[in-house]
């Protein structure tokens, strides 16, 4: 049983492995080129554990940013984590001793693995999520340390490797699209963000996009409830949403 859940968690985390190790290596190389060695790479991947923030952090360290600038930049870059946590409040409510780490380790990728609510066993749901989170961070730390050690000695060009992060989110988006019955939330996220990118520009659009997504989805709340009722009465609700409601009921 124990080994079974470890195995399940490992298999679930595999899609993140390549992305994290590759992005981690990229980070380690970048950080070393800014003059910070393997211990810095290790410390940042263990204590911060936020991919895009660590990349931004390299430029903050190299540029000798102030504490205030660093704090504000972190808020901006990582504000989306507030939303991950909000949507996980219910799910992690009874996680007990696993809860602090589950909250700490709620990165983009871990969120994308755990946000569909599917777990192999309800009794061991929190242990499973804890293991998936832990596997994910172990890949990230491994990548960051490896990148720092490899430095610039890689025998091939890694230009374009950063697309792995994009590919991860696109794959996750596609998968959610296939399993979801209601595509309005997914479309809302895409188009609100696109609109805000055009209006506010690439360095300031994230916060407005998050506010707009929340606002639009709030306004659509009545509609979704009606659709769901209709779907339930017609028995056409998708596997993904029934899986989640079962979990909430247990």
């Amino acid at each position: 049983m124990d080994h079974h859940i470890v195995r399940q968690a490992f298999l679930r985390s595999v899609p993140v492995m390549a992305g994290y190790i590759v992005l981690g290596i990229g980070f380690g190389i970048l950080l070393r080129s800014a003059g910070y060695g393997v211990l810095w790479s290790l410390a940042m991947s263990v204590c911060i554990y936020a991919g895009s923030m660590q990349y931004v952090g390299v430029s903050l360290l190299a540029g000798g940013a102030s504490v205030i600038t660093t704090a504000l930049t972190t808020v901006m870059v990582n504000a989306r984590h507030l939303f991950y946590s909000i949507s996980m409040v219910d799910r992690y409510k009874d996680a007990g001793r696993y809860k602090p780490y589950l909250i700490f380790a709620l990165t983009d990728e871990t969120y994308s693995l755990l946000s569909d609510g599917n777990v192999p066993s309800q009794e061991e749901a929190h242990r499973y999520r804890f293991l998936v989170s832990l596997f994910d961070q172990s890949y990230w730390v491994t990548g960051c340390v490896l990148g720092s050690l490899l430095g610039a000695v890689l025998p091939f060009s890694t230009e374009g490797i950063e697309f792995s992060m994009t590919a991860l989110f696109i794959a996750s988006y596609t998968e959610q699209w296939i399993t979801a019955h209601d595509h309005i939330p997914a479309l809302t996220g895409l188009f609100c963000t696109l609109l805000c990118l055009v209006v506010f520009g690439p360095s300031r659009f994230l916060i407005p996009a998050m506010l707009m997504i929340t606002l639009v989805l709030t306004l659509l709340r009545g509609r979704t409830a009606r659709e769901l009722t209709r779907d339930l009465t017609q028995g056409t609700v998708s596997c993904a949403s029934t899986g989640e409601s079962e979990e909430e009921a247990s």
């Binding site: 697309f163 991860l168 479309l187 979704t224």
Partner: protein, 106 residues
């Protein structure tokens, strides 16, 4: 170079990140309000959509050297994911398509 200053910056980045992740858990007590439960249901696909755009934010649509690798890389991911439903395969293939295009073609 002084160790103290970068160490403080790393600590600040760590503390703020943890605070952002923990805040909703600290503020939302007891029964989860229905509105929050609703957000928990509809936000995940919306946020993933937001992150897709976030990742592509620096692609200049007017520059084929940037646009074409990104579009073909993304198309490869969507097509493979829809076909095989294997995330790792989609991610690796999409990244490979992108890397080959930016390194060898453009």
């Amino acid at each position: 170079m002084s160790i103290l200053r970068p160490a403080i910056l790393v600590a600040v980045m760590s503390a703020v990140t943890i605070l952002l992740r923990a805040l909703p858990f600290l503020l939302i007590r007891g029964e989860t309000p229905p509105y929050i439960a609703y957000l928990g249901r509809v936000l995940p696909p919306a946020i993933i959509g937001m992150l897709v755009i976030y990742c592509l934010k620096d692609v200049q649509p007017g520059d084929p050297a940037q646009l074409v690798p990104a579009v073909l890389g993304a198309a490869a991911v969507v097509a493979l994911q829809a076909w095989k439903r294997n995330s790792l395969l989609s991610i690796l293939a999409g990244t490979l398509v992108y890397m080959v295009l930016v390194q060898a073609v453009f």
